[in-house]
Symmetry: D3
Subunit: 135 residues, 6 copies
């Protein structure tokens, strides 16, 4: 069993705001992240898959194919978007990086070939904050 | 003459959209950056000042003081904000990274002590795109 | 279960020197790190906690709160200090990065709220050397 | 049990080409990596070992000794080499990064002292692609 | 006048070998870089252009257009290639990073629009070695 | 004319303390950097030289030779040292990064061959603070 990791990135806007709460409670809980006019990030997405090496090719999935799957099903839906408004697979989800990692895991695992098992989805929201989900 | 550089960072939302143009022309000119629902970045701000070393201290400005000036006059006004809507010194300015660098130069040069002359304002919009302005 | 990671940093001096040994044996064992006049590093501290997401907030601990806990209990005691002389929770400990990681684990785990379980303490001593401790 | 990680690097040429296949099939499977005139990378090699701390030294292996072992048995055989032609421990192996990680694991585990157990071999082929092997 | 910088990257093989010299002299002059079986790098290419901001767009060249020009005229000819054998604009040139920077400058300056003046071509051969050319 | 840059690094301890002042004034001027028990950094040293390319070699100085000169005359005297106590070329100098850059310039320019003219000495004290000197 060997682990292959691919880094991708996307830029997006979001805000953290629970509509069931007052503006004051949102600011107390989420601080500057509750700014009603949005803020944004360069998100770094790091996907790890695992599998058994095929002796004919020396790999279990071509990293270019892995990159295309992530681009088509994840990056194209997130890049230069508003995570609260524009993304079908985030509808009704508070777009914290934690929830984003879980939503990407759920979406991506539908589209990977059987020889590449999803191991983890890791997201850097800033260079000093990251979240990782193992399913 | 010696050059001192300080890195700061802020997260913000913006869009590139010229209200004098149609939606179609904006999309043609700015591509995904024209998304009406905004997108965002982790901006990295890199400020360089220059001066003559004071022999008593071994520096011309304490880097902590430089950092405080940048924090108070620039970062607090940009961090977790919408560059099109929330920033007094960007009112009426198309918030490209190019215009942002010039606006930061103009704002920052008002607040530096005379012994620290502003040399350049450099901004990374993503890890692969940056802009630099020398006044 | 989701994993949240926060990067912090501190600058400190130390030396590796076992007072039970001769100067020669210390130099043989620790090389340049035994320099009696000290040397130092920019240490990068990477703390990972894990927990269950609260559906109201989309997280299990606010990363700002996690950062404040690490700052107050760890960084303020280590930053711009001498690890052999100045740090109460390192008294009597050889300040290798290995021992530092364990001491930080022990100190930090006293101060985390119950919803954030400490998963790992990782320290880069230089960009090419790091140590990780899982308890 | 504590984990110590050392980063090393080497520059090498390779190509991905299965001699049992036609040129066309190689290009279909490996794309630009099948270029018969070779291409190359700055490989980043990240080795993690684990062990129990010796109270006299504060470590289980001196990181300088670990570095020397990796340099002597791995880096000197790979650096500025052709991975398809020049490396005894890669003879007959398709030099994908996946196979390279396994070969380095096998080679390195012969040369580590008993107090430092090999935990993982991780290789960045580019800053956005990496492979990890845990034995 | 404002400066815009774009980072691109390519992976390539090369060797440093002057055919007018003996093998011994080549090894004396170029060390491991003279390995006849080639070695390679992940080259990081950093292009800076300068111009006057257009008030309608807030930029002088769209960074996506700059990236396309570099991709089409430079990266497609260098990526996954052998710099000694495969690149028309390097024919007859010793492929040091120094000569590569000059050749890229000459090639790129033919293809830039008049509003974007080439300012510098910078290449990292490894993370610790770089070359810059200003024309 | 082409510019060649080499990154080197060293780890050292220092404190900022002017013996002509009281302890209180030192703490007021230098803050935590005045800690009498020292602190330290991983310093990153970035040296740029310039010259005319020799057509036989494709460079004006071999980067390995440049690295050896910096190692022998600068790094060996600074690495794992105390900048206030251990370094002959810093005797009597307040070891700020500003003064360190000037002292390295003066020392290094004595030892470079005539075909490699020193262009700049740049030092990162932390990843967010740097100083550059052009002579």
């Amino acid at each position: 069993m060997i682990y292959l990791t691919r880094h991708e990135h996307f830029n997006a806007a979001h805000k953290l705001y629970n509509p069931a709460w007052t503006k004051e409670k949102n600011e107390e809980m989420f601080g500057k992240c509750a700014n009603e006019n949005w803020h944004g990030h360069n998100f770094e997405l790091i996907v790890t898959v695992k599998g058994e090496i095929n002796p004919d090719t020396g790999y279990f999935i071509n990293v270019k194919d892995l990159s295309k799957i992530i681009q088509e099903h994840i990056i194209e839906k997130l890049d230069h978007k508003n995570l609260n408004l524009d993304v079908p697979f985030l509808k009704g989800v508070m777009p914290t990086t934690e929830n984003l990692a879980i939503a990407i895991w759920n979406e991506l695992s539908k589209h990977l070939p059987k020889e590449a098992q999803l191991h983890s989805v890791k997201i850097y929201e800033t260079p000093r904050i990251c979240v990782e989900y193992f399913g």
